[in-house]
C-alpha cells in the first residue's frame, strides 16, 4: 500500500491534495455557516466555461478558469446584493450559460482529445509542477486571507448587519471571500474535478458542524475531515484506478454519514 508514496506523480497528488483539502476545509466552514452551498456548486460548474476558454485559446486552462470564475463569483455577489434578481436565480443562469459556453467552445476547438474527463472528475496523473506551484501560491494567499479576516467572517456569518455596525466592511469582505472561493475551486479541479469540487466545499463543514462547539473546533474538524477524505480517496483512486474526484467524495460522504450516526447515538 505504501509503495504509492514512492511514485513521483502520487507524491505530487498528495501534496496538492492535502493543500487543497486544507483550503476547502477552511472555506467549507463559512459555506455551511452562511448557507452558500449552491454558490459553491454554481461557481464550480461555471469554471468549466473558463477551462474551455483556455482550450480554445491554447493557454493554461486553469489560468483562464481562475479569471473567469472570479468574474462569475463577483457577478453572483453583486446581483445578490443589489437584489433585483435573487441570488439563486443568478447562480442558475451563470452556471448553465457558462457550461453551455464551455461545451460550445470545446466543440468548436475540436479538442475532444484533451482530457475533458480529467477536468470534470479529476486526474492525478495530470498534476504538473506548475499546478503544484499554483496550489502553493493559492494556499498562502487564501489561508492568509481567511486567518486575517477570521473574526470578521465569523461575525458576518452570525449577522451581517451587526458586523457592519461593528465596523466590518461587509461588502468588501464578501467580495474577497467570493474571490477566495473561486480561486480555491479552480485550484481543486485537478484533484476532484469541476463536477465534484462542490462536495469538498460542503461535506467537511457539515461534518464539523455536527460536533463543533465553537469556531476553532469547527475549523479544525472541517480541515481534518477534508484531509482524511482526500488522502484516503487518493489511495482508493490509485488502488482501484477510479477517477480521484469520485473516490474522494465517496470517502468524505462515508465520514459524514458515520459522524451522523455517532452524533445520533450520543
Amino acid at each position: 500500500m505504501l509503495e504509492v508514496l514512492g511514485s513521483p506523480f502520487m507524491q505530487k497528488a498528495f501534496i496538492a491534495g492535502i493543500l487543497v483539502s486544507l483550503l476547502t476545509g477552511l472555506i467549507s466552514v463559512f459555506i455551511v455557516l452562511r448557507k452558500m452551498s449552491f454558490v459553491g456548486a454554481g461557481i464550480s460548474h461555471a469554471a468549466f466555461g473558463g477551462v474551455a476558454i483556455g482550450f480554445f485559446a491554447g493557454v493554461n486552462p486553469l489560468l483562464t478558469a481562475i479569471v473567469y470564475s472570479i468574474m462569475v463569483a463577483i457577478g453572483i455577489e453583486s446581483t445578490g446584493r443589489k437584489g433585483r434578481i435573487s441570488e439563486d436565480v443568478s447562480i442558475g443562469i451563470f452556471y448553465s450559460v457558462s457550461m453551455a459556453l464551455g461545451v460550445a467552445l470545446v466543440s468548436l476547438s475540436g479538442s475532444y482529445n484533451v482530457d475533458l474527463f480529467g477536468y470534470l472528475f479529476g486526474n492525478i496523473l495530470a498534476i504538473s509542477q506548475t499546478d503544484i506551484l499554483m496550489t502553493v501560491v493559492t494556499f498562502v494567499f487564501v489561508s492568509g486571507f481567511m486567518l486575517i479576516f477570521l473574526k470578521d467572517l465569523f461575525l458576518a456569518s452570525y449577522n451581517e448587519e451587526l458586523a457592519q455596525v461593528s465596523g466590518v466592511h461587509v461588502v468588501l469582505l464578501n467580495k474577497l471571500f467570493m474571490i477566495a472561493l473561486a480561486v480555491t475551486i479552480v485550484i481543486s479541479i485537478r484533484i476532484v474535478g469541476i463536477i465534484l469540487v462542490s462536495a469538498l466545499l460542503v461535506i467537511p463543514g457539515a461534518t464539523a458542524r455536527l460536533f463543533a462547539k465553537g469556531l476553532l473546533s469547527m475549523l479544525v474538524l472541517s480541515c481534518l475531515t477534508g484531509v482524511i477524505s482526500v488522502v484516503s480517496g487518493l489511495f482508493l483512486a490509485y488502488e482501484y484506478d477510479i477517477a480521484p474526484g469520485a473516490s474522494i467524495v465517496i470517502a468524505s460522504a462515508f465520514i459524514f454519514f458515520l459522524s451522523l450516526l455517532l452524533k445520533k447515538k450520543r
Binding site: N159, G167, K213
Partner: protein, 258 residues
C-alpha cells in the same frame, strides 16, 4: 451637553415607496429616546438609517457631528440589537462567545478578545442575569435567554449609543420592568444615549426621556406624556384604539381612552 443625534429633513423610500418622510429629530447625549408607532411605520428603517445601514434619499443624519459610517469604522461606537436577528439556530458558539462578539470592534484588527474583554463580557452577562449559562451552546438556549444574550452582547462593547429594536421580544412581562430599570441605570451611570424602538407606547412612556411617534411622518417628538393625546394616538394607530398607560402618576393602570 452635546447633541448626540441630529436628523434633518430625512426621507427614505425603498422601491418607490415612502418609508420615512421629512423627519427632524435632535437628541442630546445621555438621553433615552423611545421610538413608537405601528408596524410598517418606519421605526426599524429610522434606526437603520441612524446606524448608517440604510442611506437616506434626502436629508442627513449626524452623530456627534459625524456621519454614522465614519463612526462605525471606529471601535464599538454603537451597541445594536436588531429586531429580527435571523441567527442560524445551530450556530456553533456558547453564550459567552456571542457576548464576546460585542467586543470584536474594541479588540481591533487581527486581535481576538482577551482577558479584559472576557471580564467585561461577564459583567454584562451578570447584569442580564445570565452568567450561569455562559458555557451553554447558543442553540440550546430558550428564546428569552437568547434575547438576553443578545442584549448583553450589545452592551459588551461599552457603546456610546445603544440602539435596541424591540428588545422586549421574548422577555417575559416581569422581566421587562427589571430590564427597563437596568437601562435607566446604565443611562445614568455611563451617560449612555439610548434609542429604543417599541410598539408598546403605554409601557415605554414610563421610562424614556423623550418619545418619537412615527408613522412614515413624525407626528410627535418630545416629552413622553405629551404623546398621550387623542390626536397623536389616532395618527399612529387609527381610531378605536384602547390605550393602557402605566405611570407613576397613577397607582394602577389608568384607562385613558375611550
Amino acid at each position: 451637553m452635546s447633541v448626540a443625534i441630529n436628523i434633518r429633513d430625512l426621507s427614505v423610500s425603498i422601491k418607490g415607496k415612502d418609508i420615512l418622510k421629512n423627519i427632524n429629530i435632535s437628541l442630546e447625549e445621555g438621553h433615552f429616546l423611545g421610538i413608537v408607532g405601528p408596524n410598517g411605520g418606519g421605526k426599524t428603517t429610522l434606526v437603520k438609517t441612524i446606524l448608517g445601514l440604510i442611506k437616506p434619499n434626502t436629508g442627513e443624519v449626524s452623530i456627534f457631528g459625524s456621519s454614522p459610517e465614519t463612526l462605525r469604522s471606529g471601535s464599538g461606537f454603537f451597541g445594536y440589537l436588531p429586531q429580527h436577528q435571523n441567527i442560524d439556530p445551530n450556530f456553533p458558539a456558547s453564550a459567552l462567545d456571542i457576548v464576546l462578539m460585542g467586543r470584536y470592534g474594541k479588540a481591533g484588527f487581527l486581535r481576538w478578545p482577551g482577558q479584559n474583554d472576557r471580564e467585561k463580557a461577564m459583567d454584562c452577562m451578570s447584569m442580564m442575569g445570565i452568567e450561569g449559562i455562559k458555557g451553554t451552546q447558543y442553540s440550546q438556549l430558550s428564546g428569552g435567554q437568547q434575547q438576553r444574550v443578545s442584549i448583553a452582547r450589545a452592551l459588551a462593547g461599552e457603546p456610546r449609543i445603544l440602539v435596541l429594536d424591540e428588545p422586549s421580544t421574548g422577555i417575559d412581562v416581569v422581566g421587562q420592568d427589571d430590564f427597563y430599570h437596568l437601562l435607566k441605570g446604565l443611562q445614568k451611570r455611563m451617560n449612555l444615549t439610548i434609542l429604543m424602538v417599541s410598539h408598546d407606547i403605554g409601557t415605554v412612556t414610563t421610562y424614556v426621556d423623550e418619545i418619537s411617534c412615527l408613522n412614515i411622518n413624525l407626528y410627535y417628538h418630545g416629552n413622553p406624556l405629551g404623546a398621550l393625546n387623542d390626536k397623536v394616538v389616532t395618527s399612529l394607530y387609527g381610531k378605536n384604539f384602547d390605550l393602557l398607560m402605566h405611570t407613576d402618576v397613577c397607582d394602577k393602570c389608568e384607562r385613558l381612552r375611550p
